[in-house]
């Protein structure tokens, strides 16, 4: 998105800055809106062309033909496609995604229930990814071509190459089954369920609000393994990008100047070079975060984690169209908004992009 918006701004040339800003903002909003409508349309289309029968999902295997037809009409499936899409758009605009056939609840309510689980997991994974990925990337760049570099890169590439469902199964087996260091599948030990009142839907935060440390630590023990595994992927990506950004910075003249001026190596690397790398790094982290927020279906399946990825997949496999549409829209929106945010941030901070 950086490219499109950037060049559009440049082409127009000499207009008053404030006006330019307003126009750029309007253009950005318009393009975001168009993207969202496009997203809705494609999702809608996929839902309608699927050969899975959404009616069967409701009426079940034994239903008679009359029952089937009644359900067919009640879903509005006898209307023409464009009418169905228009009805869908109108209800989405007011936050109504309809009822899920799979859970018999409003999709909006379902998404509010499952999304915090993913948010919690993705946030922790990103924190892990940043805390380990950035220093590793820096170390790798500073030692370019030597063993710490090779080690870090290899470590990262391992992360990239591991099938997540396999490493998840193995992790569960070793750390839960054999060593007993972490909690098992699910977000909490089962008998702790439904004890603390849900406020944010994120158990780590809710338990702190409720002041129940037993549940907090129990939740930590459950989230740490899936978060570490997702964090590993995030780490692999972040360290790789940090490394190349750092290499670029370290070859710049101002670094040489700083060194000549007698600044300590520590200051040169961690303050000057890394300081300049921070800006593009924000984009990278935002992107990695957005990807994780989509919900990692496979990790969620293995760890019985009731997140948005599993929700959408289940819905997809059982032709629960409203749920698929609702879930995908939310995930797509998060992606678009995070992207937009990092773009804006990038433009504000980086003089070259302005």
């Amino acid at each position: 998105m950086t490219d499109t918006l950037g060049t559009a701004g440049r082409r127009r040339g000499a207009t008053p800055p404030l006006f330019k800003l307003a126009r750029a903002l309007a253009a950005t909003l318009l393009s975001v809106l168009l993207t969202i409508i496009g997203l809705l349309f494609v999702t809608f289309l996929i839902g309608r062309v699927m050969p899975v029968d959404p009616v069967l999902a409701i009426v079940g295997e034994r239903a008679s033909q009359e029952m089937y037809e009644a359900a067919y009409r009640s879903l509005g499936l006898d209307q023409p496609l464009y009418v169905q899409f228009w009805i869908f758009l109108k209800s989405v605009a007011v936050g109504d995604f309809g009822m899920s056939t799979l859970t018999a609840r409003p999709v909006a309510e379902d998404v509010l229930r499952v999304f915090p689980a993913t948010l919690e997991l993705a946030t922790l994974a990103t924190i892990i990814g940043v805390c380990f990925g950035v220093p590793m990337g820096v170390i790798s760049a500073v030692h370019e071509g030597r063993w710490p570099d090779h080690l870090v890169r290899l470590f990262g590439l391992f992360g990239y190459s591991m099938p997540v469902f396999w490493i998840g199964l193995m992790g569960l087996l070793v750390f839960y089954g054999i060593l007993g260091w972490v909690g098992g599948p699910g977000r909490l030990d089962i008998y702790y369920e439904d004890i603390i009142p849900p406020v944010t839907g994120m158990i780590l935060i809710d338990s702190l609000i409720a002041g129940d440390m037993t549940i907090f630590w129990n939740a930590v023990s459950h989230i740490i393994l899936p978060a570490s595994i997702l964090g590993y992927y995030s780490l692999a990506y972040i360290s790789r990008m940090t490394r190349s950004f750092m290499l670029e910075q370290l070859s710049q003249e101002y670094i040489t100047t700083a060194r000549v001026k007698g600044l300590s190596e520590r200051a040169v690397i961690w303050r000057h070079a890394l300081g300049n790398v921070m800006i593009p790094l924000i984009t990278v982290v935002a992107l990695s975060y957005a990807t994780l927020l989509e919900g990692s279906v496979l990790t969620e399946v293995i760890f019985a984690w009731p997140g948005i990825g599993q929700y959408i997949t289940n819905a997809l496999l059982s032709a629960d169209l409203n749920a698929v549409l609702g879930g995908t829209v939310v995930v797509g929106l998060v992606f678009i908004l995070l992207n937009l945010l990092s773009d804006l941030l990038y433009k504000i901070v980086d003089p070259r992009a302005r």
Binding site: M1, D3, T4, T7, S31, L34, T35, G38, L39, V42, T43, I46, V49, M50, P51, V52, H150, R153, L154, L157, F158, Y160, S161, M162, P163, V164, F165, W166, L169, M170, L173, G177, Y237, M241, S244, L247, E248, S251, P280, T283, V284, L287, S288, T291, E294, G295, V297, L298, G309, I312, T313, L316, L317, V324, T328, V331, G332, F335, I336, N339
Partner: protein
């Protein structure tokens, strides 16, 4: 897993390379570059390992009938779930008594097929969209890039899942679905490259000589985009293999008895606690090949990045 085209790194280097070369000797220059690249590949042990892994995969696929010790789908219910090293079964047997080694060997053909088909469809489509958008500009650019953004905003595995669900399960549809989800980043790279090339002096010169848009795109823009695309494709291969395996894991990829590695893990996860090898062997195979592509891609980027050769 990640989508960002890290074009920032390759673009300036490629531009420098472009500017330093006279158009007339470009082919020659590229050949020299290729040769130097090979030399550098040899000098980069990690990339060389990656390269060798890919070569091994190709050889395994070609010579599968000779390497396999049994028919990949021959069942023997009396010989099921044997551990690795059992007589006649190097890596053990699976839940239907089929030889895991032979299945992995034949499975390499499927993996290679997935990789090749995706590699010749998604980047080509992305290239087409990207160069058109970049070269023509204006509303064509806007529309094409909006479409790209829409596809980019979709969760990848979910989009693939949706396509497979719509088209029906099967390896061909899985490949198609993966291609459909993989093209947007290539379109973005190609567009970015096109924008820089379009404004280059030599393009203006050719244009003045009366060359048409088609000629410029096919003869001058496309070749320029290739190297950054190749790097990106190599790096993406691992992701593609993992996505295909993920689809197989969810039962929507290859259909039985095809020895697709992801589907093999999926079947083997039932036995992961006692018969760990059933899921682990194909897991290792996927891991090795993904690692190979990653190592090669990482190395290729260094090689095709002229900035690095300066230091």
């Amino acid at each position: 897993m990640m989508r960002a085209p890290d074009t920032q790194i390759t673009r300036p280097g490629l531009r420098a390379w472009l500017n330093s070369d006279a158009p007339a000797s470009r082919f020659q220059a590229r050949m020299i570059q290729l040769y130097l690249g090979w030399l550098k590949l040899r000098g980069n042990p990690l990339a060389l390992i990656g390269f060798l892994i890919i070569v091994a995969l190709v050889l395994m696929a070609i010579f599968a009938p000779w390497l396999a010790t049994a028919e990949p789908s021959a069942q023997d219910l009396g010989q099921r779930l044997l551990p690795p090293g059992s007589a006649g079964h190097l890596l053990g047997t699976d839940e239907l008594g089929r030889d895991i080694w032979s299945r992995i060997v034949y499975g390499s053909r499927i993996t290679l097929m997935i990789v090749t088909l995706v590699a010749v469809t998604a980047p080509v489509f992305g290239l087409l969209v990207g160069t058109l958008a970049g070269y023509i500009g204006g509303w064509v650019d806007e529309v094409l890039m909006r479409v790209t953004d829409i596809f980019l905003a979709f969760p990848k595995l979910i989009l693939a899942l949706a396509f497979v669900a719509a088209l029906g399960a099967g390896i061909e549809n899985a490949i198609l679905a993966i291609s459909l989800t993989a093209w947007p980043p290539y379109a973005r790279i190609a567009r970015a490259e096109t924008l820089t090339i379009r404004n280059a002096d030599y393009i203006a010169a050719i244009s003045l000589q009366g060359a048409g848009a088609l000629h410029i795109i096919t003869r001058h823009v496309w070749p320029m985009c290739l190297s950054s695309l190749i790097v990106r494709v190599t790096l993406d291969m691992a992701g593609i293999i993992l996505t295909a395996a993920g689809l197989g894991f969810l039962g929507l990829g290859a259909q039985p008895p095809m020895p697709e590695w992801g589907a093999m893990i999926s079947a083997g996860r039932k036995f992961v606690l006692d018969q760990w090898w059933v899921a682990t062997m194909p897991g290792l195979a996927i891991f090795t090949v993904s690692l190979g592509f990653n190592l090669l891609g990482d190395g290729l980027r260094d090689i095709l990045d002229p900035k690095k050769s300066k230091s």
